[in-house]
Amino acid sequence: MSGPRNAEDRLRRLLVMLPWLMEVGEAPLADVARRFEMTESQVQSDLELIAMCGLPPFVDEMIDVFVDDGIVFVGIPRLFTRPLRLTAPEAFSLLTSARTAMELPGADAAGALGRGLAKLAAALADAGLATTTTTTTTTTTTGGDIDDAAGVVVDLARPEFADHLAEAAASGTELEITYYSPARAEITRRSIVPRHVFADAGNWYVSADDDRSQSRRTFRVDRIESITATGRTMDVEATTSPGRFFEDADVDRATIRVSPDARWVLDQYPIDGVVELADGWAEARLPVSSDRWLAKLLIRLGPDAVLIEPAGESPAAAIARCMLDRYRPVAG
């Protein structure tokens, strides 16, 4: 933890710390430091500095705060008793976080989160941050929060098994799953202990201890075909940050050219680099988890993509032939 150190960041942190201290009256220095993610010496020096601030006729008396023997004491609150209003990015972040949490497994829309969100939306509307009190249009009577709900929507498209996996992660339940691996076009059966379920870039993943590989693996939830509990329960571990699915430096690379219509590929997938070509075409180098994955991309893009590397027959040819075979009527 290295706290904020430039003047603006230090002041901003002080302006949230002071109202909280005035509310509680006194608090151990260590608690204050942990709560606001600073070191104890940073908290102490910033508080000592702020205590020296003052205007005539209250020089040195404006903010009555001191640290003694590891405890922070606050005297009579005068200034900075209320926190500064939320900034637009903070308000956006808080609302989005709450809306996102509503989309996560186990969310109770009618419960504490829903009520907290409603109060927040109403307060932001009053403060002019959300439904900035504009003209009295016909919509205002229906309530700011209902209106605002259509203003920011988080759609995480949660697959069916996400809830089950989240429960298992919370309880340490071991599950037997069948998992479709597109890289090998096969279904495997394995026992996993889910540790963390997360949504990232439009997909859901479960990070789990996998018996087949004897390691922590990340699985895409929509590729899990079935789930049954094995009846065994493991210790629940403190969750660690999940990694991203595709951050693998070791996988093979391919170079493809894409037309202007297929440029969305450059946004959709992780790519190493892009070279702009004539007529809006672009050449990109991208990691390829398997030949089958690359073939799928090329088949979907059709005339909008050309494989440059690897040289030789493109993996798309064999698979496209095989797909064409399925369109031919079976004899007899």
């Binding site: 404006m62 709450a98 989160l113 919509t139 219509d261 059709g302």
Partner: protein, 320 residues
């Protein structure tokens, strides 16, 4: 020499406490010796402090004196009601729910907001989380949606004016849907393709449009990612045969009511909207040899033609 924080704090306190707007001369007088004496240096230091305070969210109001000996001078104050956070009256379980929400999304600005509300993230580590992409344009767009203010922005090098109706996070990207002034119809834009970051979004007058009462960003969203910035067409259905290996997954994806037929070998026949040709084709091709388009005939012919072209362009020696 006074520490910068001390001067900033004193300036903040002075402007909060004052009963009338103060000029820079008066401010420098009250903060005796903290600002340089020379006019130019004093103005520069003060402007720097003022923008530092505004950056952290302090609403400093300016006013030009109308008459008298100081006519034309700029004066400054902070309206305490605008400065202070309104009391949300959160119960402890509501506060906790918001803390868990922010922890699940791991947002830094969300954390600052929680601190202001009197909470703290502590060691919250929910077993479920979501990565929400942060874009500098979003707070400004959201504010414009709420205020019913039009926005101007550059999109792939082209200037656009939009009445923003709503923001939608879907598939890992943020989209804004609204009425495009120049096109005269509804359009959807991907926010990360805006040109120019937070400063690239210019909001107009609040209350400049009304949002259709039935608007929902989820249903207004075009079906095909390639159509972002365009309009989606109406829909017709195709019948697709899915083999046994992918049948369960597709049933989960589409829902059981899309299944027209279940076969003994485990395969299923499903009915899928295909009005948007590019989106449908991309979906069906993504299933590779696990799916065959059965009808309508012209769609089946289109798939065969497409695959034949892929075979030709990807085979040796046809390949360049």
């Amino acid at each position: 020499m006074v520490d910068r924080i001390e001067r900033l704090t004193n300036l903040l306190a002075l402007l909060l406490e004052t009963t009338r707007p103060l000029s820079l001369i008066e401010i420098a007088g009250d903060l005796d010796g903290q600002y340089p004496d020379a006019d130019k240096a004093r103005r520069a230091s003060f402007e720097r402090d003022k923008s530092a305070l505004r950056d952290i969210g302090v609403p400093i109001e300016t006013e030009i004196v109308g008459g008298g000996p100081f006519a034309g001078q700029t004066t400054y104050r902070i309206d305490r009601r605008a400065y202070e956070l309104a009391d949300l009256d959160l119960t402890s379980d509501e506060m906790r729910a918001l803390q868990v929400a922010v922890a699940a999304v791991r947002s830094d600005s969300g954390k600052e907001a929680i601190w202001k509300l009197g909470g703290a993230l502590g060691d919250e580590r929910p077993p479920v989380s979501a990565m929400i992409p942060e874009r500098p344009e979003l707070p400004a767009i959201r504010a414009a949606v709420a205020a019913r203010a039009s926005i101007e922005f550059g999109y792939r090098g082209e200037p656009r004016t939009l009445d923003p109706w709503g923001l939608l996070l879907r598939g890992g990207f943020w989209y804004v849907t609204g009425h495009d002034h120049a096109r005269g119809e509804r359009r959807t834009f991907r926010v990360d393709r805006f040109d120019g970051g937070a400063d690239g979004v210019l909001a107009g007058e609040p209350g400049s449009f009304e949002r259709p009462s039935s608007f929902d960003p989820r249903t207004a969203f075009p079906a095909d990612p390639k159509q972002i910035g365009y309009v989606a067409d109406e829909s017709t259905d195709a019948l697709v045969l899915i083999d046994g290996l992918r049948a369960d997954a597709i049933e989960r994806e589409l829902g059981a009511d899309r299944i027209v037929e279940r076969n003994d070998n485990g395969s299923i026949l499903v009915s899928v909207p295909a009005g948007n040709l590019a989106a449908f084709r991309s979906w069906a091709l993504g299933l590779l040899d696990h799916a065959v388009v059965e009808s309508p005939p012209e769609l089946r012919a289109h798939m065969i033609e497409w695959l034949t072209a892929v075979v030709d362009s990807n085979s040796e020696p046809g390949r360049r």
